[in-house]
Amino acid sequence: MYPRKFSYVAPSRVEEVLRLLKRYGDEAKILAGGHSLLPMMKLRIVGPRVVIDLRNLRDRLAYIRDGARAVRIGALTTHAEIELSDMLKREVPLLPEVARWIGDMQVRNMGTIGGSLAHADPAADWPVAMLALNATFTIQGARKRAVPASKFFKGPFTTVLKPSELLTEITIPKPPKGHGWSWKKFERKAGDFATVNVAVIAVPDGRGQVRDISIAVGSVNPVPYRAVNAEKMLRGKRPDSELLKAAAEAAAEPAEPTSDLRGSAEYKKWLTKVMVRRALEEALNRAGITVEVVQHA
């Protein structure tokens, strides 16, 4: 399968990319790793007139930097680089785990975090992780702006990015040392998009209670969401199995999945509860919080 004809350019400066975007607007598409864009072009779902390849910008836009309070990841960083980063395994272990579950080895070698976020597939993995981690995205256009993950996704394959803008960096505040985390991705077969994906970050207060928790759920709504009600139920609590069950129910409440080849709406809604509960159990366990099992007579 061939994509439609297009004109091509591979600039070596961000400023050139911005000038090209300004000139060609929505007739142009940015090519990062190409593992979302090229399949769509081959299927002729999209047919840009101009492809702006960022391959000469790796020097500028591919990096993982450790800071005092946050890690910064360049938009062109590949999934594999995140998967293999020892610093991230130590500081934000959720990220390498999320990366490990994306596509397959070959896809992870090419695909980029920035490309995936800008593509905003409702079943993608990074958007869910970014929500749970309170990430911020740096966007360059006529001016530079920072958009929190919670405001970035607008709908399926739609973000706040304007045709003249480029996502350049992702800033992730470091969760406190000793935090618990979990990534639960349910996929029908290896490398598939998620049926449901859930990220949890749990911060213990040192006395067996939950100081803070974030729960993000993906693939069951047009955009991933934070399960704010469930988070409220757990903050400041010493959770038992009943509370986890109730929190998982609350977390699945906003889900309005559609029936498709990955399952019926009813099944996916049920699966959401199950995956949230499993994620909560794992994250709390890793945070050193014991979850009392309530026995029914």
């Binding site: 091509y8 600039p11 090229l38 080895m105 290896a190």
Partner: protein, 186 residues
Amino acid sequence: MPRRRVQRRRTRQAAETVYDMVPVRVKINGVEYSHMVEPRLLLVNYIRDVVGLTGTHVGCDTSHCGACTVLVKGLWGDGWMAVKSCTLLATQVDGKEILTIEGLAKNGELHPLQKAFWENHGLQCGFCTPGMIMAALGLLLRNPNPTREEIKWGISGNLCRCTGYVNIIKSIEAAAKEMREKGVTI
């Protein structure tokens, strides 16, 4: 090599020039190639149809099956990396080194992976084999002593429709051992 410039609109800024033909200058299995191609030409079609190396297969043509897997050097870092050549534009690897299944045997002697697939019945119809071997090589270069689970994870992007996975995994285990013992990489 001269580039054919196509001025889309009148502009004085060369930076805004876009191209309808692009250069591909690559080294495949140690041999240099240089062509002007349409930017939409996929790497797998470049390797098969332009260069004429047909060992790299097109299976699904949608980046699922892995039959088109080749190694590219220096995409990031310095090392060789397995990629699916049906989901790369040929121009994306301009200036890089590529290794295909034809480049594995040296002086008439099979690479340990090829030998292990032969000896362990790691192929039935053989269609997935070039991609399977290149993916396995990509895995072993990164992790020379993988567990069975890590092998399965490593080749999860390669489909064998004969479903001969058990012997494929066995082959990769055997090859990994020989490569470690003999210090063979590529």
